[in-house]
């Protein structure tokens, strides 16, 4: 007995020594992972974006901090299932990194819980009425606030805008995306409060795509001058100078990232002292952490966990950010399946597949079928409703189209070709379940589906890498995507985006080239006037619906779990933490 105690003491001692040897809270960087659209499912009470994007009031100027009394240090713990790869907004494509921008960096404007723009660094949102947008829609002028500054006290000026623009476009910098800055003919800064952007041609999606984060020139210019690139800048991993309510404190790889209140913040002082992001990759562990209070905020929790999380006093916020799960069909006139070329066959598929049942049973009734790609935005034609589940009508459409079961094998055929379609998606469980239901229901109308699943990085591989979806190996492909939310812009249906050996990076994997639709997309992209653009999108959404160029399966909002300690929480689909400074802890 005494020997055992002795041994246990040794073990304990050793563990203590080892723990003490671990690098103590040394701020380190780096981040892992991601792949594919993270699991997003069901809404409960979806927050609906309103009609046109109405600019609202700018935030009030800096107020003297209210109670300097040394109260308790308030730390809010956010559970993040994916770690950031980079914190430089121009070096990441990760949602999990991008949405932190409102916490520590500033955008020119944010979007509120109804996805209306709120001016942040600018005095007002440019419009044709206030002269911010030229009559022809090509010149956009920003007037910066006078009081904005970086967290180290340096003023934030138009030079930082110009610097950000230069860095993004410089070929020495391997930034994630150069759009839309490559569409600018010029960016000028007549004074340190004014930024004048001249586009080569009118560019309608500017509000949803421009100025998602600013780079501090006084920090990064010296790095660029000495290294010739900012790819390896320390700021990308430790952005200790920023312009948001919080500022970066430390990042330990795989473990956590801390942001602390920015003493020099020019807006209202944040109420919580520290935002602590803890990286917890496992969904079940995230739920456990939310239940025990080890986490105050979680994201993308599985719909199956919603009831138990609610029981533990956690609130569920359902926020629409433009995502819809849907079928993309490969319609290449030569290489595609002949049956899918026929609109009526595609309509038959829509009617033979009970998508409401998928939403009711697999998604626990928390979602509804997506009618258009622009559901819950002002851009979907409101007259459209989802195709009904009507197998008899589906059979009739198929019969009329000439697809009949002539050889009695249970599968319709025409001219010796069976109506047998390949249907592939990622390995996500809900997608596999959907495939199984679709296979069964379509078999009832004589359509055979061959199912396949791929790891998301294989599935989403490009044309050059031989990705199964990109190279037309699948007749039906399923995934979830959004627009340049809250802007409705999307490139999936442009003829120029069809991938080929000469242009392997195209994203129109469906190989749909409908000149009329293409023309409408070209037209809306230049319509700076909201009402005119909305009308064009009504036509686009109706055409895609009528021709079944895309079949919506379910609306795919973001699910947030908000712990009972958190107060004043509002969440936006486009910029979730737009009012983070007002959040408080009980």
């Amino acid at each position: 007995m005494s020997k055992k105690n002795w041994l246990f003491s040794i073990v304990l001692l050793l563990a203590l020594i080892l723990a003490a040897c671990a690098p103590a809270a040394s701020p380190q960087t780096q981040a892992p992972e991601a792949t594919q659209p993270p699991a997003v499912e069901q809404p409960t009470e979806a927050i609906q974006p309103t009609e046109a994007m109405q600019p609202t009031e700018p935030p009030p100027a800096a107020q003297p901090s209210e109670t300097p009394a040394q109260a308790e240090h308030k730390v809010a713990t956010f559970i993040w299932t994916q770690e950031f790869d980079s914190l430089n907004p121009y070096y990441t494509n990760m949602w999990f990194s991008g949405v932190t921008q409102q916490i520590w960096d500033s955008w020119a404007w944010d979007f509120d819980e109804e996805n209306n723009p709120i001016p942040v660094l600018v005095k007002e949102i440019p419009s044709t009425d206030n002269g911010g947008i030229s009559a022809d829609g090509t010149v956009i002028t920003l007037h910066l606030r006078d009081d904005i500054k970086w967290s180290d006290g340096e003023p934030l000026t138009s030079a930082d805008f110009k610097f950000t623009y230069d860095m993004v476009l410089n070929p020495a910098n391997a930034v994630t995306s150069v759009t839309p800055y490559d569409l600018l003919a010029s960016l000028e800064t007549p004074d340190d409060r004014t930024v004048v952007m001249t586009f080569k041609e009118p560019y309608a999606p500017w509000l949803g795509t421009l100025w998602h984060g600013l780079l501090p020139q006084h920090v990064l210019q010296p790095v660029f001058d000495s290294d010739g690139t900012i790819d390896n800048a320390e700021w990308n991993r430790k952005p200790t100078v920023s312009a948001g309510p919080y500022v970066f404190a430390e990042w330990e790889s795989g473990s956590y990232t801390r942001f602390v209140a920015n003493e020099n913040y020019w807006g209202p002082k944040p109420k919580i002292d520290e935002i602590f992001f803890r990286f917890v990759p496992d969904d079940a562990s995230q739920v456990a952490a939310l239940k025990t209070g080890d986490g105050d905020l979680g994201t993308f929790i599985s719909y199956a966990d919603i009831p138990t999380v609610k029981d533990a006093g956690v609130q569920i916020f359902t926020v629409f950010s433009g995502y819809n799960e849907g079928w993309y069909m490969y319609l290449d006139p030569e290489k595609g399946h002949p049956a899918l070329q026929d609109i009526n066959v595609r309509k038959a598929l829509a009617m033979a597949f009970n998508r409401q049942k998928i939403n009711d049973d697999l998604l626990l009734g928390l979602t509804k079928p997506a009618v258009t790609y622009w559901d819950n935005t002002p851009y979907a034609d409101p007259s459209l409703t989802a195709y009904p589940f009507d197998p008899e009508q589906a059979k009739k459409l198929l019969d009329d189209a000439g697809w009949v079961d002539s050889n009695g094998d249970g599968v319709r055929d025409k001219d010796g070709v069976d109506l047998e379609l390949t249907y592939g998606t990622t390995t996500r469980e809900i997608r596999q379940d959907t495939q199984a239901v679709a296979q069964q229901q379509l078999a009832d109308v004589g359509v055979k589906l061959d199912l396949s699943n791929y790891d998301s990085d294989i599935f989403f591989s490009g044309y050059a890498e031989g990705g199964p979806a990109a190279t037309g190996q699948l007749d039906i492909m399923e995934w979830s995507d959004t627009t340049q939310f809250p802007d409705p812009e999307v490139a999936y249906w442009l003829c120029s985006e069809i991938p080929s050996a000469d242009s392997p990076s195209g994203t129109n994997w469906q190989a749909i080239c409908d000149p009329e639709l293409d023309q409408l997309f070209q037209q809306e992209a230049k319509q700076v006037d909201f009402a005119a653009r909305q009308q064009t999108f009504y036509k686009i959404s109706k055409m895609i619906y009528d021709k079944v160029y895309w079949l919506g399966l379910w609306q795919d909002p973001d699910i947030w779990a908000v712990g009972s300690r958190l107060q004043n929480v509002k969440l936006s689909g486009a910029t979730p933490f737009f009012n983070i400074a007002e959040w408080d802890l009980k």
Binding site: L14, A19, T29, P32, Y91, A174, N236, P281, G462
Partner: protein, 344 residues
């Protein structure tokens, strides 16, 4: 012996080279690092073309391997897409200690990415391995000495339960019992995830407190197998003539077991420990994920899912080297344990 060691090291060089070629080729088929870059949307056409060029992914695979191995500072690369290679390369290659730059954590050296995680993994894995070895020896010897006693039967039963349980199950069950339910019942409860409580900070006590569940999960599973193994070899050795001789000479019981029996029984144990130790570097993929422990296992999975060739190759080569080294150490330990073994 020195000659033997030198020969083994020389033999390892072509082996590691071969391993690196095979792994590098396999990595090219893992998917497309630019497909989504961790985002929820696909990369745009123009950006994909530009990044393929800037990150050197447009090169044929053998050139990518050569750059990885010996660097590209002897040649020029095309960054701006004008078709003219006019920018001098900056990479030094793994042979000169440059593991490349992570494709995920853009701009960060792959070695740094790995290095950041290594201490956490070693802390977790060495603690667990230490507990496994100590307790499995104690349990194994105890069961061997009291074969078919009630205690032996109980230990056998628990071992089989432990051995047959998947680690994710034991990890989640212990988390739900000792964290979630204990909290609900108003008892002192263990933390669910992470290495420390942000409100308190990263103190050794906090880390120890957060280590309990993950270490228990790893140890419980492996303890079962190890202790059965030791029980078996001890039973075999205890039946040998020299043990009977030792006993009849009146040597104290403890010395008979720990000096005469255990030393001879440990040869097969050294083999399995020697195989397990280098894999400790790889971390515990499942346990680290569930308990959000920032170790190598998670790093590997996270970066593999985004086809981060430099980081993944770095981890794999590190483990390969460790396997080679530990096999050599194992062989040397054999000779020490059993003087009959000679390497000439």
């Amino acid at each position: 012996m020195t000659r033997y060691i030198i020969r083994r090291i020389l033999q390892a060089i072509p082996l590691l080279f071969l391993i690196s070629v095979v792994l590098f080729v396999l990595m090219q088929n893992m998917g497309d690092p630019l497909a989504t870059m961790g985002g929820r949307t696909m990369t745009r056409k123009a950006d994909r073309e530009r990044l393929t060029r800037q990150l050197g992914l447009d090169q044929p695979i053998y050139m990518q391997y050569i750059y990885w191995l010996v660097g590209n500072d002897w040649t020029k690369v095309d960054l701006n897409g004008d078709g003219i290679a006019n920018t001098p390369g900056r990479r030094l290659g793994i042979l000169r200690g440059d593991f490349g730059t992570s494709l995920v954590n853009r701009g960060q050296p792959a070695l740094q990415v790995i290095w950041d995680r290594l201490p956490n993994t070693l802390l977790l894995m060495i603690s667990a391995e230490f507990i496994i070895i100590v307790f499995s020896i104690l349990i194994g010897i105890y069961s061997a000495l009291r074969q078919y006693s009630l205690t032996d039967h109980v230990i056998t039963a628990v071992s089989f339960i432990g051995y047959s349980m998947p680690i994710f199950f034991i990890a989640l069950v212990t988390m739900y019992i000792f964290s979630v339910n204990f909290k609900r019942w108003g008892l002192p409860y263990l933390p669910t995830v992470g290495m420390f409580d942000p409100q308190v900070g990263k103190t050794p006590l906090q880390v120890l407190w957060h280590m309990i569940l993950p270490v228990f999960s790893i140890a419980f599973i492996s303890l079962a197998g190890y202790s059965r193994y030791i029980r078996g070899t001890m039973l075999e050795v205890m039946g040998q003539d020299y043990i009977r001789t030792a006993k009849s000479k009146g040597i104290p019981h403890r010395d008979v077991i720990f000096i005469h029996a255990l030393k001879n029984a440990s040869l097969p144990i050294v083999t399995i420990v020697g195989l397990d130790l280098p894999l400790l570097l790889g971390g515990a993929v499942v346990t680290e994920r569930i308990f959000a422990w920032p170790g190598m296992g998670r790093l590997f999975l996270d970066h593999l899912s985004r086809v981060d060739t430099p980081v993944i190759m770095g981890i794999l080569m590190l483990i390969s080297v460790a396997v080679v080294v530990f096999q050599l150490i194992t062989d040397i330990t054999y000779a020490w344990l059993d003087p009959r073994i000679r390497y000439e």
